[in-house]
Symmetry: C2
Subunit: 215 residues, 2 copies
DNA sequence: CTTTTGAGTGTACGCATGTACACCCAAAAA
DNA sequence: TTTTTGGGTGTACATGCGTACACTCAAAAG
């Protein structure tokens, strides 16, 4: 009875050789992500079992779990990038409420990816940790550029913008944590959203008041 | 050659029966902490090997690794509590600079504990995750009370204080992450400290400006 | 002094793992 | 049409794991 968990990720026939390979590869990524287990404690055999191929076939696609993990980082960062892009488009009605809204939607749609990032950010696999750290730094620097375009922040130094942007990225990760852990009850969810908006607003207010005490 | 890594945690004779047991128990905790591996990927045998006892003797002290992990959470939270207590004592010279100073010291002194908390906060062991989440919530509520004692914040609602406190706790965790990952070079460390101070200052400024737009 | 207790021992077992190796056989290349 | 390629197969093995079970033997209790 402990044989298979419904083989969610299985892949069948059809298409050219390249396509089939690509599909198996993606199935491996999906299985690793769906396992809801840290890479370090996830076995190659579990993943291949889920996909429906033999263990040794794993190596036709990745040299190791670590390598799969690094690939997964890039895939998991896409929703985060998408968020930033969406927030950028949104002109400025209520920028904060809109941003939190986008965040909530993305987390709802890509929960496993966010879980993966939070888990492996401090996980056992050094290459994956570094990959996530690098991507988050990149995200921070992009957000810093965006912030610099705001009217009130035009004269800020690059370092100060970066500091503010990194604070926001960190706060967003905390918010994502809260969103992933809150139950289904609408009141609880509303509470988390309202706290999230308040926290971002606090940061924005702080930035508005910043220039009174320069370096 | 791959037999032992110097048995850092070993425990020898001397003392009453209770004392010896307590010492072995602590050695197990130390070994698990020092392993720099997530609980889920850390084997009972590795831990007992490091301590210098036979695997089955583990169960004289803990029913499972998970249980050891929960115990470790409490131990790891002590430095964090100590921080808050120290920061409370410090009157108000430059509260932020002082707090960051305390943080840097505690992280330097208890790096493995902080690493453990960051790792297991999103790790594979549910009971440990929950324990850390609960402790951090508690820390947030204590900090909220402390914040409420500040003159400018005396009229804040409990929820708003909590929101600000949680934002600060989250920011501190980001700062701890940065401190644990930065290299030895003094310039790099100074940079991290300066960014940390700036971020906390940003939050404080935000709180000072908050009341202009209430609920 | 005798009995009981309990931390630590040693063996033994079944199980899951990573991966080496030889193989297969349809699609792609020639 | 023939040859080559390469994703997937199946067997096999050594290793490390958790833990069941029967044990020892000082320290603590009587």
């Amino acid at each position: 009875m402990n044989t298979r968990t419904l083989k969610l990720v299985a892949v069948d026939a059809g298409g050219t050789r390249q396509e089939r390979k690509q599909r198996t590869r993606q199935a491996l990524l999906d299985a690793a992500l769906g396992a809801q287990q840290s890479l370090a404690s996830l076995s190659l055999r579990e993943v291949t079992r889920e996909v429906g191929i033999v263990p040794t076939a794993f190596y036709r696609h990745f040299a190791s779990m670590d390598e799969l993990g690094v690939e997964l980082v890039e895939e998991a960062m896409r929703p985060l990038r998408a968020m930033l892009r969406d927030a950028r488009k949104r002109p400025a009605g209520d920028a904060i409420r809109g941003s939190v809204d986008i965040l909530v939607n993305q987390v709802g749609k890509h929960a496993p990816h966010f879980r993966f990032l939070l888990r492996e950010r401090h996980g056992d696999v050094p290459s994956v940790r570094r990959a996530i750290a690098a991507e988050l730094r990149l995200l921070g620097s992009e957000l810093a550029v965006d912030l610099g375009r705001f009217p009130g922040l035009a004269d800020w130094s690059a370092e100060d913008l970066r500091m503010g942007a990194d604070l926001m990225v960190g706060a967003m990760m905390s918010i994502v944590t809260a969103l992933l852990e809150v139950g289904e009850h609408p009141d609880d969810r509303a509470q988390v959203v309202s706290v999230a908006e308040g926290q971002l607003r606090l940061i924005v207010l702080g930035m508005a008041a910043w220039r009174s005490l320069p370096a």
